[in-house]
Symmetry: C2
Subunit: 455 residues, 2 copies
């Protein structure tokens, strides 16, 4: 048996983030100001984000230097290991080589700290004392709590009330890193008080939690807001994953034929895929990059490409994205991190230009794949990560049919230690598949009343 | 800042386990057969353990080869990283260098798979189809479930009923690895049925669960029993930790002045300390090896050295050990893995000969240290691991007082992802210190009626 895993030393942590915008044949369209309909300026973002991140959000530079203080903290878990899934290959009886990049070794247990740490650092440079954010399942809130604590910034997390009640361990993890966690809707904001006045028992939603976090940042001079996916600067930070994997795959002696990442807002997928896609765009290597999205929220494979809001309430700039509509509420799958109505701007343009692909996976198939993975490779994956595994399994079985020794690389974005209740539901046969009918998709898309993309 | 972590490639996974018995100035006394009082023979162990493990249990050989199949599986997480705790040092303002070996990167999240995997493998060699064991908090049951699944052996876990009810996620983790988990007492065994007949609502205990697991193994030809600590072969398997750390500390340019491990039955402490102690025994280097035990169960620092049973009921061979008495029931601290009345035979002899030390830590001090660790180094440690951190903090503060740049190395044996409820109790001020009075210790020791150690 060849090597099981390939490690890099911490001297090999990337020194630059890779900005794929520089290499895109068609640049992304500009976000629009929601009131004026005009292309967004940096000024409009200043109440919410620190200057360093706004600059990155709009940058066309190919390489952006990673601050040494951020690399020092990355060294707590980076470079992450790359594994060859020998035992899963054997189970599938496939000639394909399956590799996985494992991001669950971070203290917060997922890839999210890759962007939480630089976001906290750029806020620190602007003298920000407190950062607000929202969290659903809790993975992003955990990552930002961890990052803020290392820089002595107070972190304030609005956690959807149902999650707050159902997932006390996630909340405790954030508390351990000194964050303040509030069930949302809360009495702390106008948005929260308004909802509670109408419905004191409101279970909350990600949309409400975003409204509370954004309001708190907009109203206070030394408070800023932070988002865990979708935006350009977030995708940018995650490219450390793919840059490391590129070196590791070279050491393994293979350039992947297929790269796969689970898809919520795009940062997980982009983080692994973009550095490989660079070689594809330059014509050096060919590659299929596949986004693995949930069948319950298939914006890439079944949504429309048009301007839409990033949040449910409609407060954010209008983004040119694949979307199911900003008020689309996906069925309650366990992969909470993938329940987002739209796709990041850069990823959307790449899909429009057919430079990447998407496959939708229902949650029963995703858990079947995840359990096969756990029983062969050991690690119990997060429900989000199971979607990527499921697509890898599909492609490995196709390789068996075709008799081709394809090389498949996937992003195993996090462990499932805080998600065991979802495995219980699966073992008890209590998971629904949640395939959306064409009727449901049509209805969702028909409700969208935001501007069309100019042809 | 110098390097944060030191990694080894998987070629550097140790090829041999280190048996410290070969180098001990005074060999451990033999275990005695409980019925005859005579030294135990291999035959007496055959109904419970496979031949390969019985041989190791009695071996005096210094190096025992690790089977290649076991090393292949070790490669899923080994070699584990060695970290320099730069940020914790800064918080403590100490001239000491603090290093930690992190075993939480294994799929089960602790050091336990280091012995679970070879135990499963040696059972496979003897054609064993099913392995039984007990688990309290669930860490050992998880590790053995994972190991058995990789070799296609059925794993049957008797989980103390209160834990079974309070920790459903641990049970689900075992189920995910295909294990059968039964709340103990169960209707499956005579021992269980007897207890349930007397008390249908019995909360169970580790003693009862051991009785059920041992009975199941003793009664079936193709079933064997497995133990996660205390025994010589278990300590032996864990020496992969210290062997790797020895190479990593050489790369760091320091031989530790102090090596620290949390102490339950001894395998965690021994695994890290024994390879370093070898150099000490050979007179090459001096070293203080400190076992960090809970103040609620201080068998090393306050117990007596004499023959005692390994289990609560009194079914096992008599072992020459430091003990508080086999019927001693420690207060219900959250570090369930450290609530064991006795210490492994080899460790006990080393303490008797003053070649190692012990320090008792109450659980409030242990959680204070663990939270400081999480807020500087990121990882949230298991409650067991917090005891080792607390002793490291004590020694680092002493180094500050003395103004000496001591090098401290500790075994961070596992993460606390499944133990967040204990952090909640700590944050809410609900943790008791559980210092035992001299009166309580005297009473416990006075109850022991097993043979004294011959002088």
């Amino acid at each position: 048996m060849s090597e099981t895993k390939i490690l890099l030393s911490e001297r090999e942590i990337p020194r630059y983030w890779y900005n794929i915008v520089a290499d895109m044949p068609n640049k992304p369209l500009p976000p629009l100001h929601p009131a004026t309909g005009e292309p967004l300026t940096a000024d409009a973002l200043a109440p919410l984000f620190p200057s360093g991140l706004i600059e990155q959000e709009m940058s066309q530079e190919r390489w952006i230097e990673i601050p040494p203080e951020v690399r020092d903290i990355y060294a707590l878990w980076r470079p992450t290991p790359l594994f060859r899934a020998h035992r899963l290959e054997k189970l599938l009886d496939t000639p394909a080589r399956i590799y996985y990049k494992y991001e669950g070794v971070s203290p917060a247990g997922s890839h999210k700290p890759n962007t939480a740490v630089p976001q906290a650092w750029y806020n620190l440079q602007d003298g920000v004392k407190r950062i607000t954010t929202e969290t659903g399942a809790g993975q992003w809130g955990s990552a930002l709590s961890f990052a803020c604590e290392l820089f002595g910034i107070q972190c304030e997390v609005y956690m959807v009330r149902t999650s707050y009640n159902q997932k006390p361990y996630r909340k405790l993890m954030m508390n351990t890193w000194n964050a303040q966690v509030y069930p949302s809707p809360s009495e702390r904001t106008e948005a929260g008080r308004k909802i509670l006045a109408e419905n004191p028992d409101s279970p909350g939603s990600l949309g409400i939690a975003i409204s509370e976090a954004v309001e708190m940042a907009a109203k206070h001079e030394d408070v800023r807001y932070s988002l865990g996916s979708v935006l350009n600067h977030v995708l940018l930070h995650q490219t450390v994953i793919g840059q490391e994997a590129l070196v590791q795959m070279e050491m393994a002696g293979h350039f992947p034929d297929i790269v796969i990442g689970p898809f919520g807002g795009g940062s997980n997928f982009a983080g692994l895929a973009f550095p490989f896609l660079k070689h594809h765009l330059e014509g050096k290597q060919t590659l299929r990059a596949i986004a693995a999205e949930p069948a319950a929220c298939p914006k890439l494979s079944r949504g429309v490409f048009r301007y839409d809001f990033g949040d449910t309430v409609g407060m954010t700039p209008l983004l040119p994205m694949y979307t199911l509509g900003h008020d689309f509420i996906p069925p309650a799958i366990h992969a909470g991190g993938l329940r987002y109505h739209g796709a990041g701007v850069v990823v959307s343009q790449l899909l429009k230009d057919k430079l990447i692909e998407a496959q939708a996976v229902d949650q029963v198939e995703s858990f079947e794949a995840g359990v096969s993975f756990a029983r062969t490779e050991g690690i119990i994956p997060a429900p989000e990560a199971n979607h990527g595994i499921a697509v890898a399994v599909r492609e490995a079985l196709r390789a068996r049919e075709e008799g081709t020794a394809k090389t498949i690389l996937m992003n195993l974005s996090g462990h499932g230690n805080f998600d065991m209740a979802s495995y219980e539901a699966y073992f008890q046969g209590g998971l629904e598949r949640f395939e959306l009918s064409q009727e449901e998709i049509n209805q969702a898309v028909a409700r969208i009343n935001t501007p069309e993309i100019p042809q």
